[in-house]
Symmetry: C2
Subunit: 205 residues, 2 copies
């Protein structure tokens, strides 16, 4: 069994456990600093009255993201991968054992900032969101076809800076749909609040 | 021999070849869309009268970056890694065979956009530059200690947007120096031209 196959098997086991406990898992992938944690903070504020939310963060060595989201009053787990450039199903399982799954309806998971490797290592989530931001330029969607084909939702964030950057959110949207006609694309600005309701809707929440 | 050891050995062989041919190699690593290609374009414009410059770009599948730099009239090679999240010494060697090394003094190499994996896979370069941009926020240096410890120069780019982002370039500089007291830090904006001369100097050019 290759490492990828082992991971896939563990991811399926994770998914069965989550389904048994009635936990809906949304996994956020994306470039470094694209706004994954900020978007999750915005979603927590919008949804914590309606759902019991939990958060799992993946990072090499710090607890920065779990600390940020934890301040919103939801249970959090910080996973550290050491040198590894992506979360894997085995490490994610450890987080599941640290949470009270019976007390969680919606689990928001943030993968390590990386547009390549997380695509190859499913965790067992129900929905995959890939987050990029206009400040990265206009080529990043086309340059990372695999992750956009894997994702259910693409978020084009920081649109408040689009004009300044000379980058068109609509052209990024076109690139995503060209790679994956079934992907839902949401354009957001955490700064202005634009697109957050659309993101909630795109996630079926 | 592990994969890492094999890579290290090939990197050393690459380095010997480059030294024999009198080619000085600067390797650019950094986050997706941090401005690696833009900085290289700026350096090419500044330095092409003084040095015979070549460029090697690493990307999953496209030729976007090699096309951009090629328009400045320097020889370019685009390497494609397929699914791999970093260039390796073996692939870099293929680029060296495609270039006329006798006709090149300065080789600028751009690794795949990724702040984690390129740190583990040396190519044989003389200088390593890691590029991050203020639009990624204020945590990315602390979150990626290994790559900052490996680098000779850290570039904090897009400082023209620092105020808008509420991010302090000086605090990012402090984070880098805390991880690696010997690293040189240059704050740049390709948009305004700020810091490009300082970058040339930091590279010993
Ligand atoms: N202007 C603007 N800034 C934003 C927006 N969303 C996030 N930011 C800023 O972008 C920076 C990075 O945001 P994070 O939420 O930490 O991004 P991230 O994707 O979680 O980063 P990593 O987990 O470190 O990869 C921070 O300075 C945020 O305040 C936005 O819509 N507009
Ligand atoms: N405002 C501002 N934008 C910049 C600056 N430097 C680069 N950019 C923009 O940032 C975007 C990304 O620049 P690139 O040079 O393609 O970045 P890169 O690191 O080569 O990107 P990848 O190779 O795709 O990872 C482009 O839209 C550039 O025009 C800067 O100093 N200020
Ligand atoms: Mg984050
Ligand atoms: Mg580039
Ligand atoms: Zn990886
Ligand atoms: Zn990697």
């Amino acid at each position: 069994e290759s490492l990828l196959e082992v991971n896939r098997r563990i991811a399926e086991e994770n998914r069965r456990l989550l389904d048994e406990r009635g936990v809906y898992v949304v996994e956020f992938m994306g470039s470094i600093g694209s706004g994954k944690t900020s978007l999750i903070e915005a979603l927590v504020e919008k949804l914590k009255e309606r759902y019991r939310i939990g958060y799992v963060a993946g990072d090499l060595t710090t607890t920065i993201d779990a600390d940020r989201v934890g301040r919103h009053g939801v249970p959090v787990v910080q996973l550290n991968t050491g040198r590894e450039c992506h979360l894997d199903a085995n490490l994610f399982r450890k987080a599941l054992y640290q949470l009270d799954l019976n007390g969680i309806d919606l689990l928001l998971v943030e993968n390590v900032g990386n547009l390549i490797c997380p695509a190859d290592f499913p965790l067992g989530s129900h929905r995959k969101v890939v987050v990029v931001s206009v400040t990265e330029g206009e080529h990043m969607v086309r340059k990372h076809p695999i992750i956009f084909k894997e994702a259910d939702v693409a978020v084009i964030n920081k649109v408040d800076l689009a004009e300044e950057m000379g980058v068109s959110p609509s052209s990024l949207e076109r690139d995503a749909k060209e790679l994956n006609p079934r992907i839902k694309v949401v354009k957001t600005s955490v700064k202005t609040g634009d697109g957050i309701d659309e993101l909630v809707e795109a996630l079926g929440l």
